[in-house]
């Protein structure tokens, strides 16, 4: 199996808090969550978004939702009112992170979303 995008094993949503953003990444399956927990570290997310200049990245775990929540500090170039960027509120950060290529893994089939069905 070749490389895939994070979006094949997870979905998510992002938003702003002043000059900070949060990016929630939610696995489709428990196997996918276990993979995310091990591989999608705060350091990796910080490196991915390095061009946006986050001062630090903190990762929180919500296993009940199969989710990781990343808080990217000082990443919005001033935030809703002051930022000169088109995406002043970090609305697109989750979709950007979901485009991250991830390495092939043996049990990737157990991480994929079943067509049209959300997993319990």
């Amino acid at each position: 199996m070749g490389p895939i995008c994070l979006s094949e094993i997870a979905h998510g949503r992002s938003g702003d808090k002043g000059n900070h953003a949060n990016v929630a990444i939610i696995a489709y399956t428990p196997v996918g969550y276990a993979w995310l927990r091990e591989h999608l570290t705060a350091d990796r997310v910080r490196a991915y978004f390095a061009p946006l200049g986050p001062s630090r990245v903190v990762r929180y775990e919500a296993p009940n939702l199969l989710a990781l929540n990343f808080v990217l500090y000082d990443v919005l170039a001033g935030g809703a009112s002051q930022s000169l960027r088109i995406d002043t509120q970090g609305k697109t950060l989750a979709l950007a992170l979901l485009r991250m290529p991830i390495e092939p893994v043996e049990d990737v089939a157990a991480m994929l979303r079943s067509e049209g069905i959300s997993h319990a």
């Binding site: 978004f49 946006l52 009940n64 319990a120």
Partner: protein, 451 residues
């Protein structure tokens, strides 16, 4: 006799949201309460300036249109109550106009109550002198650094004064309150929860957080949105809470959109920091405790919510003047659309320089090349055209005014292939920066007025 369950629907997630949504939700949602949320972080600064110019202004006027249109639904549902933070900087003025509209609609018997006391601006110096530093929540800087530029300062009040207002009014209009408290208050009022029953207060807070952004819980923003039928007719969210704290998220039958584990989980984590400690004035809710289950089509049950005692402070949202800004766009067609667009952007800025202004902050973006996350996503192949977007911010209004006049001339005096200049000169807006702080609850006195 306390109710066993209460149905609360949110018909608006921000000022500018769909105007038909609250009416449709009230007609089709079989609601006990309709909530309407209007105040984003910086909305109060805009309302504060409106109030300065006109003592009767300073609230979310959209609400009055909505209230007018809700007339028939309110008439056929005598028990339907409305809770909204549309009061903004002027809840009493908003309530006065709401009373007029209700009377005109033959609903004059519905009492309107007001929650206020959130506005700290008139007391700001007194509070600072009393030792409340209102230091910036992130940087720790004292407010004195920007004191002279402050235009608004509001504490986020909690559910308690709203619940008190519900004992007196069928329509409750508030100033700044925590968004989730708009939902928690009617839950407490109807279900008789105690103000130290942290698990149930957390449950009501989770319900409020899930529905406060309107359609974001029912298919809006959902990553798998293509599976949401009729998103154009999306139903707005309903939380049906039971006395034990369990609740169900749904939407009106037959409406568009979707409610499932994915839409609810995405919204549960929206704009959240530590999910184990979601802090409101009412409780510290632990989002990592909740269990989600799909119990029927477009119905998600949320249970097992845990909470911890509320903190001793309110969050305060302060806005201060921070110069002026303008942003203009032009469409640049190829060849070499990207390089040409960047050259055009620089040309505009250099012309402003030649006019005597070196702008303090500038940004040239080529929309279509990954500008939403610059240098994070590879742009890929050269696009046939891009949108050039030039944005500036400066403490001098004159500098930004001059910038706003330098986009149009490029259409005839720049490279070929420039189009899309149809919207006129970009507006120059005043910038209000955001200053989050905390204040001890003991220093703030929520006030309930009316009817």
């Amino acid at each position: 006799m306390k109710a066993r369950r209460v149905r609360i629907g949110n018909g608006g997630g921000f000022w500018g949201d769909n105007l038909d949504a609250p009416v449709l939700l009230a007609e089709q949602g079989e609601l006990d309460y309709l909530t309407l949320e209007y105040l984003a972080e910086l909305t109060m600064s805009i309302l504060a300036l409106q109030k300065q110019r006109d003592p009767k202004a300073g609230f979310a006027t959209d609400f009055l249109d909505v209230l007018e249109r809700l007339g028939p639904a309110l008439k056929s549902q005598p028990n339907l109550k409305i809770i909204t933070n549309a009061g903004g900087m002027q809840p009493a003025a908003c309530a006065a106009q709401a009373r007029t509209i209700l009377q005109r609609s033959g609903l004059g018997e519905r009492p309107v109550a007001v929650v206020t006391g959130d506005d700290l601006l008139p007391r700001l110096d007194e509070l600072l002198q009393a030792g409340h530093a209102l230091a910036h929540l992130d940087t720790g800087q004292p407010l004195s650094v920007i004191r002279e530029r402050v235009v608004s300062a509001n504490a986020y009040l909690g559910a308690k004064p709203i619940a008190e207002a519900l004992a007196r009014g069928a329509v409750v209009i508030t100033g700044r309150v925590a968004d989730a408290s708009l939902t928690l208050a009617p839950a407490v009022h109807e279900l008789g929860w105690a103000w130290n029953d942290w698990d149930r207060l957390a449950a009501g807070t989770v319900a409020g957080h899930l529905i406060e952004c309107g359609a974001q819980a029912t298919g809006g923003l959902w990553c798998n949105w293509k599976e949401a039928p009729n998103l154009e007719a999306v139903g707005y969210p309903i939380a049906e809470l039971e006395a034990d704290g369990r609740f169900r998220i749904s939407k009106p039958p037959g409406s568009g959109g979707a409610v499932n584990r994915e839409t609810v989980a995405e919204q549960l984590l929206y704009e959240v920091g530590d999910p184990a400690a979601y802090i409101t004035p009412d409780v510290v809710a632990d989002f990592t405790s909740v269990r989600l289950s799909e119990v029927a089509a477009d119905v998600v049950q949320v249970e097992n919510t845990r909470g911890l005692p509320a903190t001793d402070s309110y969050k305060v949202s302060i806005a201060y003047r921070d110069g002026f800004s303008a942003s203009g766009t032009l469409v640049i067609f190829g060849p070499d659309a990207v390089a040409k667009a960047r050259a055009c952007g620089q040309m505009i800025l250099r012309r402003v320089e030649r006019a005597g202004y070196v702008l303090e902050h500038t940004n040239v973006e080529c929309l279509g090349t990954g500008a939403c996350v610059p240098q994070v996503i590879e742009a890929g192949a050269e696009p046939p055209e891009v949108v050039l977007r030039v944005t500036v911010r400066d403490t001098r209004r004159g500098a930004v005014d001059r910038f706003a006049k330098e986009l149009a001339p490029l259409v005839t005096s720049g490279p070929p292939g420039i189009t899309g200049y149809t919207t006129g000169r970009p507006p120059v807006r005043e910038v209000f920066a955001y200053w989050p702080a905390l204040i001890l609850k003991s220093a703030v006195e929520p006030v309930v007025l009316g009817p």
